[in-house]
Symmetry: C2
Subunit: 117 residues, 2 copies
DNA sequence: TCATCAGTATAGATTGTCTACACTTTTGGC
DNA sequence: GCCAAAAGTGTAGACAATCTATACTGATGA
């Protein structure tokens, strides 16, 4: 069978949607491009697997936060370009503030004395 | 008697172990006390459900990061007190730096221009 | 011709949350 | 004496987002 693998989760569950929405705010992009942008912007720390990416994109589209259209890339290949909808922009705002809140809360747990607000 | 709650995941998956280990670094504590400490230190943002807490404690103990012993509380009730093992301290260090790395990477994705390192 | 890159997609396993129960013991009010 | 609430531990099963692994297509370059 397979080599014994660690199955370590690279991404924090729930943050992929936020990262996708955020990436799309810079402009429309196809799935492959989104994954590359996240990887680059995270300093190569975060790698998005296709098995996570495409289900996430379908999920987001199903919820009306992004919309897709097939278009050719500069390289002349067909690709599905996604763009943020108005609802998606609102969702992005909500998820960003949720993220900030969680990071702040975690900081409180990790450094109770320093971060006493 | 419960507060009104949303149907969302309160905690980021994977962060509970870190929070438990960190809380135990301040001194030994029982499960109920850990949950209360996390809630308090997070400014009441993070609420740990018992259905998440106890499985997590058992998981951590199984991995040798914490050890338990039944003792009476000040209130005279029996409780299972947990303390960090040496391996647990190393794990805490590793998980903290992993967390910092993830938060930094997320910052890069959310604010690509400002956080160019 | 053949490997590699660009690109999309699905199935199934895994894992850690969640909701919802079930239980014991102590404390305090009546 | 009774009963509610708080303090405490625990499990079962649902659920969701990630992962691994696989399967395609079309273009590019050696």
């Amino acid at each position: 069978m397979r080599e014994r693998y660690k199955n370590r989760i690279e991404l924090l569950q729930g943050t992929l949607d936020l990262m996708i929405l955020q990436t799309l705010q810079w402009g429309q992009q196809h799935g492959y491009g989104i994954a590359n942008a996240i990887q680059a912007n995270s300093g190569e720390v975060l790698r998005v697997e296709t098995g996570s990416l495409y289900p996430a994109l379908h999920r987001l589209e199903r919820q009306g936060w992004i919309k897709s259209a097939w278009k050719p890339t500069e390289a002349g290949q067909r690709a599905k370009f996604y763009r943020l909808t108005a609802a998606g922009k609102r969702q992005l705002t909500a998820e960003r503030s949720r993220w900030d809140q969680l990071v702040g809360a975690m900081a409180g747990v990790l450094n109770p004395r320093e971060s006493q607000s």
